[in-house]
Amino acid sequence: MTPEEIKSSLEAKFPEAVAGAGLEVLQPFLKINPAMIYQVCQFLRDEDTLNFDYLMNLSALDLGENLGLVYHLTSLSQRHKIVLKTEVSKEQPNVHSVADLWRTADWHEREAYDLLGVVFVNHPDLRRILLPEDWVGYPLRKDYQTPEYYNGLRVPFPEEQGDLYDEE
């Protein structure tokens, strides 16, 4: 199925779900209303003609005002791909987990929670995964400040702060 067809079949099922699309870029994406992400994913996975059974990647990123979530889906049987995008605010970074649709999302979501502070509602085990449990803050946010001390240890050397690699 082409991205246009996927978009139209989604719009037929959920009229409010698709908030926008970019079909002219290298990898076509659909912008999904964050409240609808679980239903949309379930539909994409279970519908026979779509059959998105393989979640390649789930990434989160800092967009300034909001946090973005990007789902890269493919289907092993139908051999088509689609990218879903959604945005949540930094004050209320809640989005429904898809870990019970694709179990692989479990660790990806824990990573997004760990490094960017996205809270996945209904996640089976939302803990930090890469950082220690007592770490404060979400390092991949652009406004993150490296803490001066961690458990009484000095974290950065003073000369390492700032733009070490900034040559211009």
Partner: protein
């Protein structure tokens, strides 16, 4: 006459019922454990010898590569990718370079493409050799390790000739490679292909069809195909479950569509499809196929200037791209976001071993503690890449 302390009467061992521990025991495995291939910690709940629950804890090697990448220029990211999967650095470079090339719309020089495929496949063999050798060690077979490292040494010599380094190469650059192949390198590669081909039989004789090895790995840690797909496993771990999916064939990149090779899948020869032995044998079969690709690429390698298309300044236009390539461990994905400036906005790595390890809590319950070592070994994890 000396008397012992036992009472005069007939002694009967009497143990009060509540003194026997019938509860679950919590067992800590790692982070420093020889079979965890690095620093992986698994907390096991065991009922006697049977594992009832396994919870992996990762992050001991976490350097936050993704944060580093946001603070350096586009090309300065490449040495960091080396250090993720340090057993397959070439494949790590390759994925990143292709991602940027596709974003920039850059066509790579033919000679460079051939060199890239040769080194990537050589690195796949080298990585599988380590997987085989250390898997033998995990199970208790020491000798195969020496055999596999003997061949790996030859591959590292070839890498040293072309890139100057033996482990972390920084060799595949955006638009080409760092150095052209030196004179006589192509012949040395072909020589290696001839040398390596008969060695597969040696591994099969000493390890693959060894009765003890089969007993330890057959029917252990079976991953059914639907579970593997739901967990988005990739690489040999997915193919061992009988799913014929190889990105080199199914989502072609570079020049892989020109070469003739077959996708190896697990067939349950000695046990069930998707068991640990299948994951092992898929790696052995893949080495044969990689050897074929190397031979074809080396024979087809044209003359020319491999550095012709390496740009002076890497300027990535605004946009985003998810590039996936087949590394020895599976699907390596780079999700790259650019705003057109000199640093990446976001580089998210979907590391194959990270995803492959996440299946462990699903397959561990019901196995013996000793079998868990066989399962973790068969997943072929590299912690540098899991923790990034």
């Amino acid at each position: 006459m000396m008397k012992n302390n036992l009472p005069e009467t007939d002694y009967e061992l009497e143990i009060p019922a509540q003194a026997i521990q019938t509860d679950e025991m919590t067992l800590n495995m790692g982070p420093q454990h020889p079979s965890t291939h690095g620093v992986l910690r698994v907390i096991l709940k065991t009922d006697g010898e049977i594992v009832t629950k396994a919870t992996p804890f990762i992050g001991y090697l976490h350097r936050c590569f993704e944060k580093h990448a946001e603070n350096v220029s586009w090309v300065q990211v490449i040495p960091y990718t080396d250090r993720m999967d340090y057993l397959a650095s070439m494949n790590m470079n390759h994925g990143y370079a292709i991602a940027l090339e596709r974003m920039m719309g850059l066509q790579v020089n033919e000679r460079a493409e051939h060199i890239r495929v040769i080194v990537a496949e050589l690195n796949r063999i080298a990585s599988h050799l380590v997987a085989l050798g250390t898997y033998g060690l995990d199970i208790g077979a020491f000798t195969p390790f020496l055999y596999t490292f003997r061949e790996r040494e030859r591959i590292l010599d070839l890498f040293e000739l072309i890139s100057g380094a033996r482990l972390l190469y920084n060799f595949i650059w955006v638009g080409g490679v760092a150095y052209d192949a030196p004179q006589g390198w192509r012949e040395k590669v072909l020589e290696f292909c001839d040398y390596f081909e008969p060695k597969i039989k040696e591994y099969n004789d000493i390890l693959t069809y060894n009765k003890i090895f089969i007993e330890r790995t057959a029917n252990v840690g079976v991953i059914p195909a639907d579970l593997a797909i739901n967990y988005a496993l990739s690489g040999p771990t997915l193919r061992a479950s009988g799913v014929k999916y190889d990105l080199r064939r199914d989502d072609p990149y570079s020049i892989y569509d020109r070469f003739d090779f077959k996708v190896c899948i697990g067939q349950g020869q000695v046990g069930t499809v998707g068991d640990s032995w299948d994951r092992y044998i898929v790696r052995v079969d893949e080495m044969v196929e990689s050897n074929k690709i190397i031979r074809q690429a080396a024979q087809a390698m044209p003359e020319g200037d491999a550095l012709e298309t390496v740009p002076k300044n890497v300027k990535v236009p605004e946009g985003e791209y998810y590039m996936r390539t087949e590394t020895p461990r599976g699907e390596l994905g780079y999700f790259i976001v650019s705003d057109g400036k000199k640093n990446p906005v976001r580089v998210k790595v979907r590391s194959p071993a990270f995803v492959n390890l996440s299946v462990l809590p699903a397959i561990a319950p019901g196995t013996m503690v000793a079998d868990l070592v066989a399962i973790v070994g068969s997943l072929d994890i590299v912690l540098g890449e899991i923790d990034r």
